[in-house]
């Protein structure tokens, strides 16, 4: 299934081609070419600042340094972690974020419009060939658009905001090819939960490049699920080579991609650290058990785990496509007594679109409890936090101990299909069974 390049350097045929991330890094570093392992300094095309690790942590440092921001036009600010304000502290953080935007005249500010990674995608702000940094680990989300976008801490983003530059060790690339079509009830989320197990979650110094006909057939929403969770793989970032689907999404967002946007591709003879191939048709819905995304297996290995809460939310798990997956399972069904289903759509646009197409109606008819858009319970910041010993199945990306609240709570990760099916069953359940049955005919 894999081709691991274990040959010593002197035996390896000299590669002549480059992978897409290598080409983007070379461009951003002002070089003709860069090689894996090299340390380079890159110019940043876009810096994403969120209310969590953004202005509240960066502004005091700018004051201490006595400087402003390097280029307000290259900064995007989004409020999402502390929205809506629920106490004096969160209100103050949001106010500070708005004051920062005014002080430095930052033109692109999305206040309470949704989760930053999703908002960037919705507005066509991440484009092929860009080199971008975000002050949040799931900034890898943007890589779905054929750009190099990685997450960094607020201290490092302070450096970016002051200098417009960041250092990088050029990563090696791991190519992950998927072929074939998913069965009913299977989605990109299942791909990532399987990969967390198969590739492990310590892929530092590597960029994960997703490809194959399965990925080519995916919507941009589903592709961002792949690159978003490259963060869970511990990779530098994830990336998908751009194609017509990418360009169409950027145009639909009202932006015009560069005329040569599709030149950002990996060469056929690019040097990969490993190439993996998987069959989408053979993929079953996956669930990751507490307390690591790598602790995953087919859904039936977790059947009959009772759940107190089913949560559909976060950048990775509450896009329009995710809400539609949940609705496909919930149509004509009810959430089980004793289980609560909570839905926090990833953006205001998702709410508008899911209202227009009836998806939200289906969810609330099934008994879903609607929450405001934002990062919410995924990081124990907003509504939907878990109590001691509670069990949750969640469409989010992390299930570390204490991630969604109490340290003794258990968080299982699954696709929106699996979360919805589990909400109906009151225990972890295989969505394929419900999707193949008429509502009302199931024993529950």
């Amino acid at each position: 299934m894999s081709r691991n390049d274990g040959a010593p350097n002197w035996l390896r045929r000299m590669p002549t081609g480059y992978h897409i991330a290598q080409k983007i890094i070379a461009r951003a570093a002002g070089r003709d070419a860069v090689m894996p392992g090299e340390i380079v300094t890159c110019s940043v095309d876009l810096a994403l600042l969120l209310d969590s690790g953004g202005p509240r942590r960066i502004w005091p440092r700018l004051i201490e340094l006595g400087v402003g921001v390097w280029d307000p036009d290259k900064i995007v600010v989004v409020t999402d972690h502390f929205t809506p304000a629920v106490d004096a502290e969160s209100a103050a953080i949001l106010k500070l974020t708005r004051d920062f935007v005014r002080e430095f005249a930052i033109p692109r500010f999305f206040d309470m419009q949704g989760i930053g990674h999703v908002v960037l995608a919705e507005n066509g702000l991440v484009q092929p060939g860009m080199f971008a940094c975000g002050g949040d680990s799931h900034s890898s989300n943007g890589g779905a658009f054929g750009c190099y976008m990685a997450g960094f801490g607020a201290i490092e983003m302070t450096g970016v905001v002051v200098t417009g530059e960041i250092w990088l060790q050029v990563p090696r690339a791991v190519r992950v090819n998927w072929s074939g079509a998913f069965g009913a009830g299977v989605a990109a989320k299942d791909v990532m939960l399987l990969l967390c197990r198969e590739l492990g979650i310590d892929n530092a110094h590597h960029v994960i490049e997703f490809g194959g006909d399965t990925v080519a057939a995916m919507s941009m929403n589903e592709r961002t699920t792949l690159t978003n969770m490259a963060a869970e793989l511990g990779a530098e970032t994830g990336i998908v080579e751009p194609d017509e689907t990418t360009l169409a999404a950027i145009r639909a967002a009202g932006q015009e991609p560069a005329a040569d946007a599709l030149r950002w591709r990996s060469d056929a003879d690019a040097d990969y650290a490993a190439v993996h191939a998987f069959d989408a048709a053979a993929l079953a819905p996956q669930v990751a058990a507490p307390h690591s995304p790598a602790n995953s297996g087919p859904v039936d290995s977790f059947a009959d785990v009772p759940v107190d809460q089913a949560y559909i939310g976060a950048c990775v798990g509450a896009k329009l496509s995710d809400l539609r997956m949940a609705a496909a399972v919930l149509r004509g069904r009810r959430v089980a007594a004793g289980t609560r289903l909570m839905v926090a759509p990833a953006s205001q646009r998702v709410i508008r679109e899911a209202t227009a197409d009836g998806t939200l109606q289906t969810l609330v008819d099934a008994g879903a409890y609607l929450l405001p858009t934002g990062c919410g319970a995924c990081a124990a910041l907003g509504a939907g936090i878990l109590a001691e010993d509670e069990v949750c199945i969640s469409s989010t990306n992390r299930n570390f101990r204490g991630r969604m609240g109490a340290n003794s709570a258990s968080v299982y990760l699954g696709s929106p299909y699996t979360v919805a099916a589990s909400a109906v069953a009151g225990r972890i359940a295989d969505p394929r069974e419900m999707l193949s049955q008429e509502p009302g005919s199931d024993p529950a």
Binding site: I39, E64, D136, S137, I155, A204, G234, L381, R401
Partner: protein, 167 residues
Amino acid sequence: MTQIGGAAWVFGDGVDTDVMAPGLYFKASMDVMARHCMEAIDPEFAARIVPGDIVVAGRNFGVGSAREQAPMALQHLGVGAILAESYGRIFYRNALNFGIPTLVFPQAGEIAAGDRLCIDPLAGRIENRTQARTYTVAGLPEHLLAMIAAGGLMPYLKQRIAARGAS
């Protein structure tokens, strides 16, 4: 950067940033946040660590989020250095940016809790005085030495800005 000495606090593989800096305390002061650092896996850690003590861990230390509060909480508690087999990528950069000596230590598994360690981070020398063993590992990354010598990214940025102003 001078030598660092202290007792070893030993952790396993995959210690994530959520247990170092739990989201529940994001809005609280660093004093409060640090009191809950590692609580989910070692409730004694924050109360009992002595400034200068050294965190020793297995693979992928600091996996997870970009939250800089993770290394900040360790630094606030007085952690003198971090030695792990490997690191979560953002945590590693954050820790060095705060000037915390952070070394890749493949033999971390040979250290026992409470061992007295003495470290020269620039030379990559780790002495276990309890076990009377000395290790040599890769020192701090060469391209970051100027930043680390300055004491971290903030003092380094100050130097660069001052140099820019003077030129």
